[in-house]
Amino acid sequence: MAVDVMTSSIEPAGITEGMPGVVTDLASDKQAFAVPWGKAMMWIFLLSDTFIFASFLTSYMHVRMTTTDPWPSSSEVFALTIGGAHIPLVLIAIMTFILISSSGTMAMAVNYGYRRNRGRTASLMLITAAFGTVFVGMQAFEWTKLIVEEGIRPWGNPLGAPQFGSAFFMITGFHGLHVSAGVIYLTVVALRVWRGDYERSGNYEIVEIAGLYWHFVDLVWVFIFAFFYLW
């Protein structure tokens, strides 16, 4: 019996789908999730990270609802004058496109990883890391502009509600930290791909796991973009 269960967890043939599949996956004395353990752990980490960012965004919602001072218009705060034209929110729009592009190159890197194309996987991952670096650079530029030119501080600003600064620095700062960590993570994995570590072990799963983290960083930005910058 026990032997039977063991083999069925490895052998994917004849598995049940839908709700009965959930029951058999969770109820039998075997591995519940039919994915490599590293991938399952990354998903669970990302789930916990979801709660962290959601708590930040909920507290932002709360301070924005409760303040009696006017909330600064993000459309104007993040506007830039390029070539004499005043374009609202343009820096954030460019940052959004850069992060989405990095997600695209990462998805392609994962695909080439499973095709065991070492050169393309490593170079696409390095391109992804480069996009991430550009993103963090633009964020540093944005922070500098807000701190030096607009005089925005975590405890107050000349534009209106003092909570604007604390919410902004906390949320974008934590996201930027995630991007920076992702750049390091991707670079390390890319160099190991390049060196042929995974070619020898015959296992490119780490590329997909690193990819999950990177897409998550992009996903969080989608929510920050919608709620903090556009709302």
């Binding site: 994917p12 789908e17 839908g18 709700m19 599949g21 959930v22 996956d25 969770l26 519940a32 999730f33 039919a34 994915v35 490599p36 991938k39 399952a40 998903w43 669970i44 990302l46 789930l47 979801t50 709660f51 959601a54 708590s55 909920t58 507290s59 919602m61 709360h62 609802m65 409760t66 303040t67 009696t68 459309s75 609202p88 929110l89 729009a93 959004t96 496109f97 989405i100 592009s101 997600s103 695209g104 998805a107 392609m108 695909n111 499973y114 095709r115 799963e205 997909e208 990819g211 999950l212 897409h215 998550f216 992009d218 996903l219 989608v222 929510f223 973009f225 919608a226 556009l230 709302w231």
Partner: protein, 105 residues
């Protein structure tokens, strides 16, 4: 095993999703650029946001091709956050009313 299937997609799938994400981002930027206001603004922001999030999680993160057990384990718990958001919204409303009475004029 779900992973094995997911690996066989042609690159074009990702390029299409990439393009869609670009278009959706452009749309959400246009909401601000064209000064759409009120309920329509909030609806459009949320719709574009959820579509983008769905594409990233579903295709880029391969969730679409995972077993239902993993999908449920990852996607259902965040729904608890709706309770938190609801409670904070009610409480925020109350705090705002109290502050308006106590601190203005």
């Amino acid at each position: 095993m779900a992973t094995k299937e997911a690996t066989q997609h042609p690159i074009s799938v990702y390029l299409w999703i990439w393009l869609l994400l670009f278009v959706l981002s452009a749309f959400s930027y246009m909401v601000d650029y064209l000064h759409v206001q009120g309920l329509l603004r909030w609806t459009l922001i949320i719709v574009f946001m959820l579509l983008k999030a769905g594409l990233i999680v579903g295709v880029f993160m391969h969730m679409k091709w995972e077993r239902l057990a993993l999908k449920l384990a990852i996607l259902v718990p965040p729904l608890c956050l709706l309770v938190l958001i609801g409670l904070m919204a009610i409480e925020g409303d109350y705090t705002f009313l109290t502050r308006s009475q106590a601190f203005t004029n």
